[in-house]
Amino acid sequence: MFDKLPAIFRSFDLNSDVRTLLRLRQAMEKGLVKTLGDLFYVLKGLVTTAPTDIGPFSKAFYAHFLAIDIQAGETLEEAIIRSETFDEWKKKLSTDDLVDVEDIDLVNQFLDEVHLTSYDIKNFLSGKDILDKDDPSLTDKENPDAGAEVDRQNILDRMADYRDIPLEELLERMREVAKQQKSKHSGGDHWIGTGGVSPYGHGGAAAGGIRVGGSGGGKMARAAINNRNFYPADAKAPLKDDNIDAALAALKGIEEGTSDIILDIPITIKEGLKQGGIFLPYEKEKRQQRIQVILMIDNGGWSMSPYIRTVQKLFSKMKTRFAHDLKTYYFHNTIYGGLYSDAARTQFDKIEKINLQDKNYSVFVIGDADMAPYELHRSSVRDWQKLKKHFKRMAWLNPMDEREWYHSMTCSAIMQMFPMFELSPEGIEEAVIEMNRKRTSSK
């Protein structure tokens, strides 16, 4: 069951491979994993690498270890209540526990047990200071009616037990649990336990006071399941405020390394010493990262207006974070002899003037490229080609769905001039890769 873990996590678009298993094993050998709650934390630390991984991770964890599949749009509570695991778990509760109890309280209890960590147990135990052993025979699980004191002792003993269980055996136990959950008769003593959840479960531990009251892992999981901040932004979705950071990361790829020649002091000294104090200068390249970007935004028609603000936000973020050389021009549908340097389109700059700038600028044209065919007449096409001839790295970003591009005559015409990509984080990334490819080939 564990050996499939990396594959399971990968199926939830998380990064995981055999190293996850090695590290998990390491953590187990060091005694970090004694409860299911511990396992949640340890795996979370090993598998997640961004806040946006926490949602998928929680889903994967619940699906795999508890056989609770959380559907899109469903809250964790709903998924739990719907699940067989929860039903099984409820059966283990004594009838007294079920009187006058709302499902939601039971869910809280369930979550507490699932996410109970060995730290919780330790805290509780050291708090109550009941480490003295009365009668070892009473700690036997044959005596479910033994008092709470004994239960706690029982817990400590079991914790010690689990520490020494090798990974393979844990795997075997978990496999058993899974089988039993499928065949609907839970029982016996297995790792994720009595009632299928926790070895400290069966109401006893909770009754004994080891409740963490909706804090810890349960709370985390609950918060993560329905919060889009804990899910990756959809890289294929059109650029929006939520995936702007993903787009930004893609844009970072256009950073250009430039190199200047500078004096290499260490080598000069070393060689100079070999020459008996006669110093000949040695030089080396100094690498520097530089980004120069020109944006050309179609801010004319209504079709573009939903995107303009986001595009500007994206590129202004880019400007503050890593590119300091950013110029923006505006046009309506297409260009006639030049572009405007202000959003209101009053300051006109001729193509010739724009083309005086460094040809190393990366140029992003953002527009839907859809207009009346007569608008894109021959002289306009020539203007685009002039720009293309000067700026070697030019790409068109189109906010429309790719399938619609071919329905527009003007769009098809423009696609013959410029490589066109969707205005989405993924599209931007492709555009950047394409631009970088051009840079290397032009060298």
Partner: protein, 298 residues
């Protein structure tokens, strides 16, 4: 193994339980802990307070856009080496001429290459058993830095430049390594894969009360309630740069310089906003939505 017990915070620092657990796990399995989260949620404070609380030595490497692994591990001081070798020649010439006085090399010997190795925080931490090593704001680093860094850290062994001296640390003396990031740039996947990852979620109101109480144990309750509720109201506005714990604490510090009644009116009028809100658009938003003022007609 030493120092792998759970640490849950100190008198003046409330360590979130999940963070404490992740930190513990990282130390136990000897991996660096990578902490991400909003600015001002106490990422950098963790190692500082941990070291202070347990009396451990702390080594800090603040990362900047020009950071290199050389600075982090060790650097060979070529200029000093050059100077000293010139001094040696000079001294020999003087001796030849029968002059007694000599120029000093400050106890350094050009034969001894390790005299010219400037040790960086990593080397210092590796040579001090059970120390704490903080690599702050790694997201500010040049792109290749994180991977170089991990290569350096993954072997528990550092080789000094030129001198070839080896600094090694036994597994049980491994320093606790904490790396913080504000997510200004995506870190390489390989890098993240080698760290235990923890994302600090913003503390809920109850926790915030505890945090405030740790810093200002004698604070008036009414004042505290008002401050915290206004603070969370601001955070719910969806500001460009929402105020975080650090800003709240600075604001409270400011309010503390007044008598209670005066401080309360200050809260009501939200004065001293400059500490909390650092962006003009945000300030306008707060003014209109919370204080009910329309800036245009005011």
């Amino acid at each position: 193994m030493a120092l792998t017990t759970m640490w849950t915070g100190s008198e003046s620092y409330l360590c979130d339980r999940e963070l404490a657990q992740a930190f513990h796990m990282a130390r136990v399995i000897g991996m660096p802990l990578l902490i991400e989260g909003e600015p001002g949620t106490g990422k950098t404070e963790l190692p500082i307070q941990f070291a202070k609380d347990l009396g451990l030595e702390l080594f800090v490497y603040p990362v900047g856009s020009k950071s290199s692994v050389e600075q982090f591990v060790a650097k060979f001081d070529h200029v000093k080496y050059l100077r000293d070798s010139q001094v040696e020649i000079l001294n020999a010439q003087r001796a030849e001429k029968g002059l007694e006085s000599k120029l000093s090399t400050g106890g350094r010997e050009t034969e001894n290459l390790q005299d010219y190795v400037l040790k960086g925080p990593a080397t210092k931490a590796f040579s001090t058993p059970n120390s704490v090593l903080l690599i702050d704001e790694i997201d500010k680093a040049p792109r290749e830095f994180p991977n170089d860094l991990l290569f350096a850290l993954s072997h528990r062994k550092l080789v000094m430049p030129e001198s070839g001296e080896v600094v090694e640390v036994a597994e049980e003396n491994m320093p606790a390594i904490i790396i913080t990031s504000n997510r200004e740039q995506e870190l390489p996947t390989a890098f993240k894969g080698r760290c235990v990852y923890h994302y600090i979620s913003f503390p809920p109101e109850e926790t915030m009360r505890e945090i405030v109480a740790k810093h200002y144990p004698k604070m008036d309750e009414e004042l505290q309630d008002n401050c915290i509720s206004l603070f969370y109201q601001m955070r719910s506005l969806g500001l460009e740069r929402a105020p975080a714990t650090r800003e709240l604490l600075s604001w409270i510090k400011y309010l503390h310089s007044f008598e209670k009644a005066e401080a309360l009116t200050k809260v009501k009028r939200a004065s001293g906003m400059g500490v909390l809100i650092k962006n003009n658009d945000d300030l306008q938003k707060v003014k209109t939505r919370i204080l009910g003022k329309n800036p245009k007609f005011n």
